[in-house]
């Protein structure tokens, strides 16, 4: 806290200093700084988050706070007038609650403040800090975390504005760059490939061999991208196949029926635990003839492989194994990284804009802006009046102008005084922001 003087030069009571950029602080751990074991331990459940935020609200050093906890990061975002004290409060809370030795936690924690903190929040929202750059979930998680904090009223003017800017920046990044554009999951890559072989997936028949989790995921993706398709499930344990087929309105078949099914199926997804090939080249060749060489797409996500790779040599039959699919994704991941350069630029722009807004919350620029606004209005009105009164002499005009200036000065005296010192423990930034909005100082 600093000692201020009023207009008459008298010392005033101790007042809050104006908002400072370094008041915004983010501290936490993420996938880059902490191993998964530590992140698991640190993760906050919904109840823990609420309890923590309620406690932080009571801490005098913490103005505003919110907590983001996902599987890849645990972060606390806060506005404080006393950074070291606030960090101490939070660290001791975490080490206590989570039973982690401070010496163990400390090397993993990063602390950013000021524009670094703003940049960090924007990058997280835009999915630039994610393990898989461009993955869309983080934005939803951040929105959820913000909602929790808003419900508990643990955020205020600054974090609200910061988060809203983070959301709009993330949206801009998503629409203006290709960061979320290309497939980066194996099942998605398989669907994209299928669309390059088949004109449409509508009405195609899919044969699922083995009822693994990966296969299920691929089927879900396929079903989402078509209006109608037939699903056949072949599984060693017939009842498991029946259950899975039931979930997707498909039909279960026996493993022995596979060679016959090759004549009608279009896409085959295999993920059995079989050590030998489940489908051989000799089975596919005659099937191709009877299906009149319509294309046949094999997706082999089993290790060891289920589909004989030589089948890829048969005309109009295409085999992709897990490595091929991964190869297809790799380039997309590289693409995303290239697009992220564009995204970084957008984020930096937003940081600059936010910083400008934040700094306008200082008293002096706000009063200057107010003066200029009133000055402009009076000058314009005087000019109109002078035009209507051509008989006025130059001295008369000067008298009017002096009067106008003194009106501004007197009118602004009390507001300026209030803004410089809204009273002990009142948040100056709130009043400054309100004033700027009331007089529409930021068009």
């Amino acid at each position: 806290m600093t000692l201020l003087q009023n207009d008459n030069g008298d010392p005033m009571i101790l007042a809050e200093p104006g908002p400072d950029l370094s008041d915004i602080v983010v501290l936490g751990v993420n996938h880059k700084t902490a191993a998964v074991e530590l992140r698991e331990k640190l993760a906050f459940s919904a109840e823990e988050t609420e309890a923590a935020l309620k406690l932080f609200q009571k801490a005098p050093s913490i103005r505003e706070a919110m907590i983001l906890s996902t599987c890849n990061r645990v972060e606390v975002l806060l506005v404080t007038k006393n950074k070291s004290l606030a960090i101490d409060t939070i660290s001791s809370f975490i080490t206590e609650k989570k039973a982690i030795a401070p010496a163990h936690l400390k090397p993993c924690v990063y602390v950013h403040s000021g524009s670094q903190a703003i940049l960090h929040v924007f990058r997280v929202a835009a999915s630039l800090d994610s393990m898989m750059i461009g993955e869309p979930q983080i934005l939803g998680q951040l929105k959820e975390a913000f909602k929790t904090a808003v419900t508990l009223k643990s955020t205020g003017l600054i974090l609200n504005r910061l988060l809203h800017k983070a959301f709009s920046t993330a949206k801009r990044v998503r629409t203006e760059t290709g960061i979320g554009g290309h497939a980066v999951s194996i099942s998605y890559a398989a669907v994209e490939l299928a669309k390059k072989i088949f004109d449409t997936l509508d009405g195609k028949t899919i044969l699922l061999i083995g009822a693994g989790e990966m296969a299920e995921l691929a089927v879900e993706h396929l079903i989402r991208s078509t209006a109608s398709m037939n699903l056949l499930v072949a599984n060693r344990t017939f009842s498991v196949g029946v259950a899975l087929a039931g979930r997707f309105r498909g039909r279960a078949i026996h493993l022995e029926e596979i060679p016959e099914t090759l004549k009608t199926a279009d896409i085959i997804i295999s993920s059995t635990g079989s050590p030998a090939y489940v489908i051989s080249k000799d089975q596919v060749k005659p099937a191709m003839r009877s299906r009149k060489h319509r294309p046949l797409f094999f997706i082999d996500i089993a290790v060891p492989r289920d589909i004989d790779p030589d089948i890829n040599r048969i005309p109009n039959a295409y085999v992709y194994d897990i490595d091929d699919l991964q190869g297809a994704i790799r380039e997309n991941i590289e693409n995303r990284n290239a697009e992220s350069i564009k995204a970084e630029r957008i984020v930096e722009e937003s940081v600059i804009k936010f910083t400008e807004w934040y700094q306008s919350l200082d008293v002096v620029p706000t009063i200057i802006d107010l003066r200029e606004k009133l000055g402009a209005i009076l000058t314009a009105e005087l000019a109109k009046t002078f035009q209507a009164l051509p008989l006025l002499t130059e001295t008369d005009r000067q008298a009017f102008e002096r009067m106008a200036e003194s009106v501004i000065k007197k009118a602004l005296h009390d507001p300026a005084r209030f803004l410089k010192n809204p009273g002990a423990h009142r948040n100056k930034a709130v009043y400054l922001d309100f004033t700027r909005k009331l007089f529409h100082l930021d068009p």
Partner: protein, 272 residues
């Protein structure tokens, strides 16, 4: 006339550039602009042929220059029509440069004045020429679709080139449009040949005279007939159909140019 031809070349050239930019940049606006430019070029092109027809009093396809002009015109015409009906934008990157090359070739070949004979003024001749060129244009586009198919198929099989994989349409779609071109091309080729025979009967008094061009036309026709037969009976599709479309077009090109330059025959009068 050459100034009009120059305008056409310019429009086609710009259109080709637009389609090639589209191939790389994948921006919708590129192929829209390219399509517009090509349509403009086609309008001028049609006007040019119409004017020549009016001025000469016979259909202007009696020397190599005129033939090339008509060939280019048929190519753009068929492409514009098909493109209007189907979403096959990428084929523009093949059709537009091809049309440009044909017209530039026409521009470079001097238009040798041909003494008009009553032989030229036959409705059968006009029909024969127009239909044959529509067939050639369709089969040229079938070859284009086949080439694109082969590139895309290779990209999927070898799992190497993501560049084409992303930009080119699906194999099934390419195969189906290629087939559509072949059917259109083959039908017009058949009708074109029949009108040719009728015309030959009227002029020379016989349907078939073992002329080199006639023989090669028959060979080309048989290749396409085999392709269609294979598809309908034993399901030749995909790669094999694409390769056949390319081979068929090569035979067609030989019939069109090779016979004129290397062998001799009674079409000489029209194409030298």
């Amino acid at each position: 006339m050459s100034s009009l031809l120059f305008v056409i070349i310019l429009l086609y050239l710009l259109s080709a550039a637009g389609y090639i930019i589209f191939l790389f940049a994948q921006k919708e606006v590129c192929h829209r602009v390219a399509y517009g430019l090509m349509t403009a070029g086609f309008v001028v092109h049609t006007a040019l042929i119409g004017f020549e027809f009016y001025r000469l009093g016979y259909f202007p396809a009696q020397n190599l220059h005129q033939t090339l002009v008509v060939a280019g015109w048929a190519l753009t015409g068929v492409f514009l029509l098909i493109k209007y009906r189907y979403r096959l934008n990428i084929l523009g990157a093949y059709a537009a440069p091809l049309a440009t090359i044909v017209i530039i070739a026409a521009f470079c070949v001097p238009s040798v004045a041909v003494a008009p004979t009553p032989m030229f003024k036959s409705l059968w001749l006009v029909l024969h020429i127009v239909i044959i060129f529509i067939a050639e244009a369709s089969l040229a586009l079938a070859c284009g679709a086949g080439l694109i198919y082969l590139v895309q198929e290779n990209a999927i099989k070898t799992k190497s080139s993501r560049f084409f994989l992303k930009r080119l349409p699906s194999l099934e779609f390419l195969d189906r449009t290629g087939y559509l071109f072949i059917v259109t091309g083959f039908t017009s080729l058949t009708i074109g040949l029949i009108t040719g025979f009728i015309y030959a009967q009227l002029v020379w008094g016989k349907f078939w005279s073992w002329d080199n061009k006639e023989i090669w036309s028959m060979i080309t026709w048989l290749i396409y007939a085999a392709l269609l037969h294979g598809r309908l009976v034993s399901g030749w599709r995909g790669r094999r159909a694409a390769i056949m479309a390319v081979i068929g077009f090569a035979a067609l090109l030989f019939t069109f140019f090779g016979v004129n330059f290397l062998l001799e025959g009674h079409h000489d009068a029209f194409t030298k």
